[in-house]
């Protein structure tokens, strides 16, 4: 097998000039040693882990990404002081010179905004949740809240990119691609990394680079399933082409590509071949997995009325369960529209109406099927929102700006403590006072739960070994069950 290269194309028997010089020039001795140690693998940079570093607690992840950044203090992080000082100025002692976005930095005043939602404790664990999340409250004892998330990114593009790739700068492989690269596939008939986006939502744009494999081989790209008749674009055969004829075509194409591979050693060709094969198998597997008609009504009803409309968040949650059930390693939902610079109360009500019941139903559904034991569900957005009002504050309306210093996420299932809260923010919900968790730390923790030591899953690119957490990240031990 050839080394996977940045160019995807090179001339000398599958080796780039850099790697040729490295192996021949720097180390003929090294080459000899490598040959002795592993005669077949001396040139092989294949990285699929033969086994995970640790015993995995979870085999797969369903990431419910709330794009646009939900307001933590209207959903999870109860701050009565904001209600008490509603309308008063954010104290400088709290802000501590923190940079603000261009949207609120020119405001003459930064008045604190209390949440209009009631908070209550739920379940045996006594988790605090807002009245906007009545269904989530039902599964509170299954959830592990991290109230001390933080990131450097202050705007959506870098923020989402950070969550997806461990870097604010585009170009690195996405989290799901890293998992596909490290863990491999459980089910050869479906992609390892599937992306589901709630249809018809506006807001901050989502681009396919968020689920791109970056410098990892292209077969680790996330595959977006659409809500339309063709769940995966261009997958179905054109009218009048039979499956047998399709098979024959692919086999012939493979022979051609293998011939080409012998002459030029283009690793991208291997990807092509495997993609064609995968696509052929997906012609059978995708219609089966996306067909919700055999789901019992009782299950459908758990997810709420919108589940019957393809492409809704509810339908995607159910589909995520079906994909996970069939061995897909990483299913990522994106639900846009949380970016409430104005009209926070209406925004929260509307977003929660779409997401609260399905998110909770997914937990229940996984639980009763025994899947919550080895499926990790993660809920959260790219950063938090400010405790002060952006724009005009009226009696029953206000906006909130971006706030990277603290926000809340939750996880459930696969090896995390159920009914647990980690981390704490100050009375104003502005700064973290206890157990901060950076995005890198979250990545390290998720990988740990999947059995991967985040420091040991690497890919060599442009002369250095990259990893998802780069040079950062600590496993958050207190949240492990």
């Amino acid at each position: 097998m050839n080394e996977h290269l940045c160019t995807g194309f090179d001339e000398t028997a599958g080796m780039s000039r850099r790697s040729f010089l490295n192996k021949m020039g720097l180390g003929l001795g090294g080459l000899a040693l490598a040959d002795m140690v592993n005669p077949l693998g001396a040139m092989d940079a294949s990285a699929l882990l033969s086994a995970t570093h640790l015993v995995p607690k979870a085999k797969r992840i369903i990431f419910l990404f709330q794009s646009g950044a939900p307001s933590q203090m209207d959903l999870f992080d109860h701050k009565p002081r904001l209600n008490a000082e509603h309308g008063q100025e954010l104290p400088d002692s709290v802000r501590q010179g923190q940079r603000l976005t261009g949207m609120s930095t020119n405001q003459s005043s930064l008045p604190l905004a209390g949440s209009p939602f009631e908070f209550q404790r739920y379940g045996q664990s006594g988790a605090t949740l807002s009245s906007a999340l009545p269904y989530t409250a039902e599964v509170a004892d299954e959830l592990c809240f991290i109230k001390s998330m933080h990131t450097e990114a202050i705007n959506h593009g870098p923020g989402v990119t950070m969550f997806q790739t461990g870097s604010q700068i585009p170009g690195r492989p996405s989290f799901g691609s890293w998992l596909s690269y490290g863990l491999g596939s459980l089910n050869e008939n479906l992609p390892n990394y599937v992306v589901l986006i709630t249809k018809g939502k506006g807001g901050q744009p989502l681009t396919s680079r968020y689920w791109d494999s970056g410098f990892l081989p292209g077969k680790h790209n996330g595959v977006q399933f659409r809500s339309a008749e063709d769940a995966v674009l261009y997958l179905n055969d054109p009218k009048g082409v039979s499956r047998a004829s399709r098979r024959a075509t692919i086999e012939h194409l493979e022979r051609l590509q293998e011939e080409q591979l012998r002459q030029t050693s283009d690793p991208a060709l291997e990807n092509h071949i495997s993609q064609y094969e995968m696509a052929f198998r997906m012609q059978a597997s995708v219609p089966e997995v996306t067909d919700l008609s055999r789901e019992p009504d009782a299950v459908m009803d758990m997810y709420g009325p919108e589940v019957r409309e393809p492409g809704t968040y509810a339908a995607n949650c159910l589909l995520a369960r079906r994909l996970a059930e069939r061995g897909v390693r990483f299913v990522q939902l994106f639900h846009q529209g949380w970016d409430a610079h104005a009209h926070v109360p209406a925004n929260i009500r509307n977003q929660c109406r779409q997401t609260d019941q399905p998110s909770a139903a997914l937990i229940k559904d996984l639980k009763m099927r025994g899947m919550l034991d080895d499926t990790l569900v993660v809920w959260g957005g790219e950063f938090g929102r400010t405790n002060y009002c952006q724009g005009k504050m009226t009696e029953d309306d206000f906006g909130r700006d971006h706030h990277p210093r603290c926000f809340t996420m939750w996880m459930a299932g696969g090896g995390v403590k159920a009914g647990f809260t980690h981390g704490e923010t100050d009375e104003y919900g502005y700064n973290i006072v206890k157990d901060s968790v950076h995005v890198h730390d979250l990545h390290a923790t998720l990988m740990h739960l999947l059995g991967i030591n985040h420091e040991r899953l690497t890919f060599k690119y442009q002369g250095r070994h990259f990893r998802l957490t780069d040079v950062h990240g600590h496993t958050v031990k207190p949240v492990l069950a």
Partner: protein, 458 residues
């Protein structure tokens, strides 16, 4: 200061002198008679005298030692008798043999002295080391000749903690190592026998050594926890004390009722307890973190063959060679028997198995039931009934069983209840009646709560 006890201990040092000297004298008499030597060297009288004097001193010290107690009275009496006889022969040898001309008499005296010395020495050795000591490693015919029962067969080598006998393999090795050199039938210090379960339960002079389930009342536990300077601390006389792990094992054994037999598996020790038990049973590092015996990696050819049949086969971690096997069929075709038969090649390695929604039949479940190390089994959404689930009774290590979406009914509980390690059973969407869920040793999921009919008020 107890001078008697102090000097008494020197008995075991001094005794070598009379044995050596008197043996020399006896052998010289026998040799002289044998060779019909005319002249008997006068020096020989001196040897007999020296032997007698050291013999008298040894007898005195021995008497002092016997006063410190703790020895079998009858055994002491026998030893003392033969010690005195041997010493007396020494005196007679010194006084009379110089006058004796007959070679037969001289040789006879030497022979008797050898016998007397051997008996005295052997009986003394038995007192110190226990009567078992000398013949401990003797071949069984010799042991029987010497009046010992045939040596019990060595315990079969335990390679897996769960197979170890709780008393014979775990508790008794600790007692043998630390306690039975004093608490055995020949040297029953404190009138306590710790070499058999009956002896332990009978207790000693102070009272009950072990009260099942009650550590505070168990003298054995109390004594090993005293200050090492305390007179009552055990083991006494500066013998090495029990380690923390050994104490923990004994305490755990007593808390579980101090059973005389049964396997470790039956007693379901906690995960922290297992390594300590393993150490006591002498099977360190045989077990991985799943509680299974360590194994070499599965043959890559078998892995490749299973992968080609559509199984995903992966070691559970880099440290654990047991494998996690998934199978995802395509379409409505069930999994064929040949594939399940091929899986048998990895039978000892399969710890986690997922055969959900692959058309698995009742008969095929019988093929899975032969995988001895299964910990997690997902056979959900398959056309299975109670008749098939019965096969699973052989899965003695099974911890998680997923049967959701199968056609099993309440009758399946008789199988589940028979699985000693079962922790979780997933039964949603089966024919099991939710209310029939009696209190069980494992958690049952998916029967309640039912999906909510009315949305909660917001």
């Amino acid at each position: 200061m107890d001078w008697t006890a102090f000097f008494g201990r020197f008995h075991v040092v001094l005794l070598h002198l009379p044995i050596g000297i008197l043996t020399l004298a006896a052998l010289a008499e026998i040799w002289g008679g044998w060779r019909r030597l005319e002249e008997r060297p006068p020096f020989l009288n001196l040897v007999w005298l020296g032997g007698w004097i050291s013999g008298v001193a040894t007898c005195l010290l021995g008497w002092m030692l016997s006063l410190s107690g703790g020895y079998d009275e009858a055994a002491i009496d026998r030893h003392f008798l033969w010690g005195v006889i041997a010493t007396a022969i020494g005196l007679l040898g010194w006084i009379f043999l110089r006058w004796v001309k007959g070679r037969v008499l001289r040789m006879g005296a030497g022979l008797i002295q050898i016998i007397a010395l051997s008996l005295a020495g052997h009986l003394g050795g038995n007192l110190t080391h226990g009567p078992e000591y000398l013949f401990e490693h003797a071949p069984n015919p010799l042991r029987l000749l010497a009046g010992f029962e045939a040596r019990e067969a060595p315990r079969p080598e335990i390679v897996f903690l769960d197979d170890a006998d709780i008393f014979l393999d775990v508790v008794r090795p600790i007692l043998k190592n630390r306690c039975t050199s004093c608490h055995n039938p020949a040297k029953t210090k404190g009138e306590l026998l710790l070499d058999t379960h009956e002896g332990i339960m009978a207790g000693g002079k102070t009272g009950a050594a072990v009260v099942p389930g009650d550590l505070a009342a168990s003298e054995l536990i109390v004594r090993v926890h005293l200050d090492p300077d305390d007179k009552k601390f055990m083991p006494t006389d500066g013998k090495p004390p029990l380690t923390d792990d050994e104490r923990a094992v004994l305490e755990w054994w007593i808390e579980t009722g101090a059973p005389a037999s049964g396997t470790v598996f039956d007693l379901s020790p906690t995960v922290d307890m297992r390594p300590r038990l393993a150490a006591a049973a002498g099977i360190v590092s045989q077990e991985n973190e799943l509680g299974l015996k360590r194994r070499e990696a599965l043959d890559p050819e078998i892995v490749a063959q299973l992968e080609s049949l559509g199984f995903d086969v992966k070691p559970i971690s880099q440290e654990i060679a047991y494998v996690d096997v998934d199978y995802f069929g395509l379409g409505d075709e069930g999994i064929p028997d040949e594939k399940l038969a091929a899986l048998q090649q990895a039978r000892d390695h399969v710890a986690w198995l997922n055969l959900g929604d692959c058309g698995l039949t009742d008969a095929q479940l019988g093929m899975i039931a032969s995988l001895p190390n299964l910990l997690k089994l997902n056979v959900d959404r398959n056309p299975l009934s109670d008749a098939g689930v019965v096969h699973l009774k052989s899965l003695k290590r099974l911890e998680v069983l997923n049967l959701h979406g199968t056609r099993v009914s309440d009758a399946a509980y008789s199988t589940l209840d028979a699985l000693p390690r079962l922790q979780k059973a997933y039964l949603w969407g089966t024919d099991i009646v939710p209310n029939s869920n009696a209190k069980r040793t494992y958690a049952v999921f998916g029967l309640t709560p039912e999906p909510p009919e009315d949305p909660p008020s917001s």
